[in-house]
Amino acid sequence: MQIVVRRSGGFAGTSRGWRIDTDTCDDPETWHELVGALPREAPVGHRTPPDDFTWTVTVARTTVTIPGSQLDGPWATLVARVRDQGDPD
């Protein structure tokens, strides 16, 4: 399973991305648990605060967009893990 995380916006306006293929990881089960813990609905911002980050998270064929100030809970855990263990995209 491919997980791709992209961060755009922010004061600097620089986009960064990270990618991981969980099938090639040592602990694919942990990744499946992380993905299984994701809420069905991603938090949706009514209005992006100026200079806030925008996160785009793609898990397999599903993509969600989350304002940085609302990245929390299981989504934040997943993003942090991909940034930590994935490759720059």
């Binding site: 600097a12 306006g13 209005r47 992006t48 605060p49």
Partner: protein, 389 residues
């Protein structure tokens, strides 16, 4: 008749501006500066009644009323209050830089434009520092400024640069005035307005003229490991950095390089390079203190009824050209500089070059017949761009 109308019909702003610059008449100059500042204050904003109902008649507290909180590496806002207005320095660099930066920004708006805090009504200034872990950002959440410490590999703490603090507070000012929609061209204008006034806050604090200013945004934010001088350059968008990790500064300086993208709210931090460069061109062509020339024109435009929330580059350009003619006089060097600047970056057509005629059509096109729709007579007696009372 509002105070602004009455005032405007007596002494045109461009004449006041001339008096304000008269070195041989220091008292008159000081009075003219005060009058101009008060005029800017009463010409302020449109949306305050909607966004934040307040009684403007009451005398607002003219101190910054700063409160700095510490999130201690969490993302929980506001965090623990660590320094209130009037309290001594804490010794924590981020706390004290935020405190000083908010003070310098508050002083800029009050002393230059007569605006009491970001809402014009003495809104207390709140900020949170030490937000998140390795958090490479600063943002305005609609109520407070939030500053990260950076990751110390690419970015240092975001309080280190005064123009960044000025930038974030300017987002608040925009929210209470033109309320430019944060998407596409109006979003890029929102970003550019924050860079413009963030830069002016730093220039005013340093006493720099347009010639002396660096026109860099976020100088000092990068660690020494990064190949770059700042996050953005208003003088030369696209040249602020060129780094193996970050890539090259992607900002265009003219419409020929306009970036179409769905990321970054439609490239608001990319395409802001175009209006940023227009401001730089106008400010340096006018010369002197940028907050008195192009800065005053941009402020007039930001508080003009003609600036709608979804306005595009060309629309905003026309409002600034009109504002320059009203403040400094039609055919003045300032009005010509503003029109020329927008033409150089490709936002206004060639017919707008060197003239303030024919750039105020309502259909979104640059006029070709010189038959301006909006009053731009420059004598201060017309309606001009309607200001929000």
């Amino acid at each position: 008749m509002t105070a602004h109308d009455r005032f405007r019909s007596v002494v045109p702003p461009y004449l006041l501006q001339a008096v304000a610059r008269a070195a041989e008449h220091p008292r008159a100059a000081a009075a003219a500066r005060t009058a101009l500042a008060e005029m800017s204050a009463v010409s302020a904003p449109k949306h305050e009644h909607r966004v934040r109902p307040r009684q403007l008649a009451a005398t607002p507290d003219r101190s910054p009323q700063r409160t700095i909180a510490d999130a201690a590496g969490t993302t929980t806002l506001p965090g623990t209050v660590v320094r209130r207005e009037g309290e001594p320095a804490t010794g924590d660099a981020a706390v004290d830089e935020a405190y000083a930066g908010l003070g310098a920004t508050h002083a800029f708006w009050l002393e230059v434009f007569g605006r009491v805090s970001i809402d014009g009504a003495g809104l207390p200034l709140d900020a949170t520092v030490h937000y998140g872990q390795d958090y490479d950002n600063a943002y305005w959440d609609g109520q407070r400024m939030v500053f990260g410490d950076g990751d110390d590999e690419v970015f240092r703490r975001f309080t280190v640069a005064l123009d960044v603090i000025g930038h974030e507070l300017a987002h608040g000012v925009t929210q209470y005035t033109a309320d430019l929609t944060y998407e596409g061209q109006s979003g890029a204008l929102n970003e550019s307005v924050s860079d413009v006034f963030g830069s002016l806050v730093a220039q005013y604090a340093a006493g720099q003229t347009a010639e002396q200013a660096t026109w860099l945004i976020g100088e000092g934010l990068f660690t020494d490991a990064v190949h770059g001088v700042a996050l953005r350059s208003m003088r030369a968008p696209g040249t602020a950095y060129d780094d193996p990790v970050l890539g090259k500064d992607p900002q265009p300086s003219t419409m020929a390089g306009y970036v179409q993208t769905t990321e970054d709210s439609g490239g608001v931090h990319l395409n802001s390079g175009i209006p940023n460069h227009a401001f730089f061109l106008a400010a340096t062509a006018i010369g002197g203190n940028a907050w008195e020339g192009a800065g005053a024109v941009w402020w007039d435009a930001l508080t003009s009824d003609a600036t709608t929330e979804s306005i595009d580059f060309a629309g905003f350009a026309r409002v600034t050209v009109d504002a320059a003619a009203r403040r400094f006089g039609r055919g003045s060097a300032e009005a010509t500089a503003v029109a020329d600047a927008w033409r150089t970056v490709g936002v206004l057509g060639a017919t707008a070059a060197g003239t303030t005629d024919g750039v105020t059509d309502t259909d979104g096109d640059v006029g070709t017949d010189g038959d301006a729709v909006t009053d731009g007579s420059g004598d201060g007696s017309g309606d001009g761009p309607r200001h929000r009372a």
